[in-house]
Symmetry: C3
Subunit: 396 residues, 3 copies
């Protein structure tokens, strides 16, 4: 049986009906079947494209994008996914548009959606805001569809919020699955999601939260390591705890990077800002207290500087399983001696893992395409088979 046929067969055995005309906002809102289906579709779409078969399912339609933060990777991943499926990206640029001038979210959401099949949003800067905003947009377009204003119900895809970064964590997980030769091999594997030092501040929490909120579903021993004061959102820790218990794995916290790395199969050292500080910053922005924000920035940078020893060094890597743990990062990394004097990772470690890191990133376009595909195809397995049978060439 071909790889493609195996993926379709797997998909046929999964319950995905609730994904149809639905959104992808948090991985832990999705069932195990739905998570598995997303990986299967992502891999199947890639299989088609690699064979030169076009998986274009839209003849026309818009993929709206709203980025409230800078982005290269996610922007290109979203553009690639939309393009692969036949959608045209239309940016909602709040600078250029009237959205900043007091329009309600409901109104704007309807106005941009008359021919939108997907809305991708990145809104990760303010604790308590990003995911809430996405839900507001989702509710607005649902109502617009139910009321007969919209001819189709655009699907929301979370391109990073304050809570989760599902396109990243799902791409990361698909990478892990491939590196370990199948999801069935993950049970008991140790994954260390650890804080690392960076000379910048205010990096979002959505990556560590996304990782612990997803990796704990696969029976892995997930360790979250960070210095005291760098706590992530307690709600997400609770999710990780519950999922670890259910999957037969574990979720442990530590303040020791060495402990996290010891014997690990996978390490993910990455800087982030303390949850409490991000909450404070959100409030300061709300109050328009820019002096307060400046003071907070100085304070956080100084706090970071106390933890320069949180670096993924060769010594730490040597302590992982057989000294060969899979090193992961969402990129760009702060590389000691390359992009900064002292950073998240030693340059020799980063260099050795450059290719796996690039491959890790390469899953994201397909993961996003899979999220869209599952939300738009009533019978995704049949659609995949029909696409293969159609055999439309991607390049003439």
């Amino acid at each position: 049986m071909s790889n493609f046929d195996a993926l379709v067969k797997k998909l046929e055995g999964l319950k995905t009906a609730d994904m149809f005309e639905n959104d992808f906002l948090l991985t832990w809102e999705k069932t195990d079947d739905e998570i598995a289906a997303t990986f299967a579709v992502a891999d199947a779409l890639r299989d088609l494209r690699v064979r030169g078969v076009s998986p274009k399912v839209f003849d026309s339609g818009l993929g709206v994008s709203l980025f409230r933060d800078n982005s290269t990777r996610t922007r290109f991943s979203y553009a690639s996914a939309c393009n692969l499926l036949g959608l045209t990206v239309q940016d909602l640029d709040e600078g250029k548009s009237q959205i900043a001038h007091g329009e309600t979210v409901r109104e704007t959401a309807n106005m941009i959606s008359f021919m939108a099949d997907v809305i991708g949003i990145r809104d990760d800067m303010y604790i308590g805001k990003g995911n809430a905003y996405m839900r507001e947009v989702a509710a607005a377009v649902q109502a617009g569809y139910d009321e007969g204003n919209l001819e189709q119900r655009p699907t929301l895809v979370n391109l990073q919020c304050d809570i989760d970064h599902p396109t990243q964590s799902m791409a990361d997980m698909d990478h892990i699955i491939h590196e370990f030769g199948g999801v069935e091999n993950l049970k008991g594997k140790k994954l260390a999601m650890t804080w690392a030092y960076s000379p910048s501040y205010g990096k979002p929490l959505s990556v560590p939260q996304g990782i612990i909120g997803l990796a704990t579903r696969f029976g892995m021993e997930v360790v979250l390591a960070h210095p005291e004061g760098y706590e992530v959102m307690p709600e997400v820790e609770a999710v990780a705890q519950k999922q670890a218990a259910a999957s037969g794995g574990s979720f442990v916290k530590t303040n020791s990077m060495a402990q996290a790395f010891a014997g690990a199969d996978i390490v993910y050292p990455k800087s982030w800002a303390p949850f409490a500080a991000m909450e404070k910053r959100t409030n300061l922005y709300g109050e328009g207290n820019f002096d307060g924000i400046d003071a907070l920035e100085k304070e956080l940078l100084a706090q970071n500087a106390n933890h320069k020893d949180w670096e993924a060094t060769e010594e730490l890597m040597a302590s992982t399983r057989a000294g060969k743990a899979l090193y992961m990062h969402c990129l760009p990394a702060d590389i000691t001696g390359v992009s900064c004097d002292a950073g998240e990772v030693a340059d020799t470690v980063f260099d050795r893992y450059r290719l796996p890191l690039y491959k890790e990133a390469g899953y994201k376009p397909y993961i996003i395409a899979a999220m869209i595909f599952l939300a738009k195809m009533r019978d995704p397995a049949a659609a995949l088979k029909a696409l293969e049978a159609r055999g439309q060439k991607r390049i003439f």
Copy 2:
């Protein structure tokens, strides 16, 4: 007979030959047949899309967009229309481009048009400039085509100018036609296009001018109401007067909002700046007199504030026909107690009409698509039938 067949049949009875390879700049330059054809094609394209049939007529081609003012709705409507028909939007961003550096309009118009099928322009800020600029561009591409420089003659679509806002007024009118069950039911209906208070200043005149310049063609009793000093362009009033006479309707001016609302079937309360003030502002900009502009702004805001009673209240709405006039707005509206302390409309009125307002906006992408379709298809009725027969699915 299906809705689609009825629309095509109607279209077949209309003379549209002059729309081919032509522009859409002012509604009153179009014959009654051409206006009717635009509604018919817009409705037919929508009918196809709702049934999942793609009306894509372009395999490739650019839809150039030039927005000299902020826009969400019109930008997305234009992008949607282009995408639906198969064109790719390419922004001419004067900031990014060399257009600001002394290039002549003729040259730029030719340089951007080698593969352009449509050019959509929004240029509504300066009285006497926007429409004139569009005509300059149209003349340039016509000459470029006649001289053999351009392989096709791009169609100009006015996405809002200083005189008219045809994509808005045509969408509004298509909404009215559907709400009243057909264009034949509009005779004798009273439409009140009235000024309303807003705490902002300098809103373009193109909406009220567009409405009185179009609604007067359908035998309606069109009332234009505004406080003294908020006159619109006299040339457009003359057009409205002439058309009202020809259509068996009427065009009346009043300085009383109450009089306008009394017994009205349709009310369109919306703020705009006085024509004379906009002309003055245009001249001040021309002179680079920024102190003068600041002074004018203060003066206009103070003048506006004298007319806070021009609000679409529940009381006024109750005075309309059966208290149930169709409330219209191009959005976003200044809603009292929501987007401002005192505005154009009471929040309860706005809320009650939210869905019809969204639907009103939903006609715009199809109206723009129809304008393009009629300019590019030599036999639009035959093309529609062929599209239905082709039966290309919009979504796989």
Copy 3:
């Protein structure tokens, strides 16, 4: 035999295998066959489009664009070429992206290329940087492809660098070939690439360098004229010298505009900055010496002003062959009395050549499309024939 068949036949006789999966960075890196093939494919693609036959060869795929300098013409030409072939342009906007924040070129090049078939770069501001950057990107995506990170190897297209402007010079040359009725008629023709006065400073050298680096291949008498101190890069002069010798033409330098124009068949008067000054400026930017840059600007403008007599006047034009040399410019030109008080060309001269100038520009989209086509089609002649046979209509 039809024009199209003749072009395909010509192409079949040319060796183009090395263009497949390759880049287009400098014309003088390409063989005579490859240059000829680019003209043939450009003309053939145009022939198809003019006949309404779509040359779309991509069902999906991205054409990444990176413009480090303002651009209207090249941006639209690139967008047109991508659109014609079926690619969607995705801008890499360094302002919006994280590229400015210390990412390595290698990483970014891979991150944006997962679904990119082409990368077009304009980077012409800094001597020694632009072309080098393109080669870094090319090496990165080649490695990414070889290592299995990228599923396809995106082709680099030089949209203007510090050394060459191949899409401009190739479009210019295609224009010359058509104006003179065939490449075989160019032998012995005199082409004057001459400096001209402009009130601006810092114009890139890539146009004059591109022209002398290409025109010298066709047996023409190429004259490079400029005031003392306005030298171009010596490496490119050496290329021109060598090519002129090989092609049986000549390459001569002069400090007299009159000498260059005398008896010329083609004149290309255009301002540029002295190579040495551009090198100095690049170093000043490198040092962050903004006072130095301001001083240099003043110095260069003063130096320019000594040469206001370098203008393409009617008198000079009268001295060309039969007073009817083909006047060329990459546009926009500095026209005396129109865009500036004193400039590169007299208004009456410019006016008389307006249409040929526009036609000159019109070759660029097809030249870019040809560069992409030849890099992506293993058998370009067969692909062209198959496209004609497919007969897909560009407009329904």
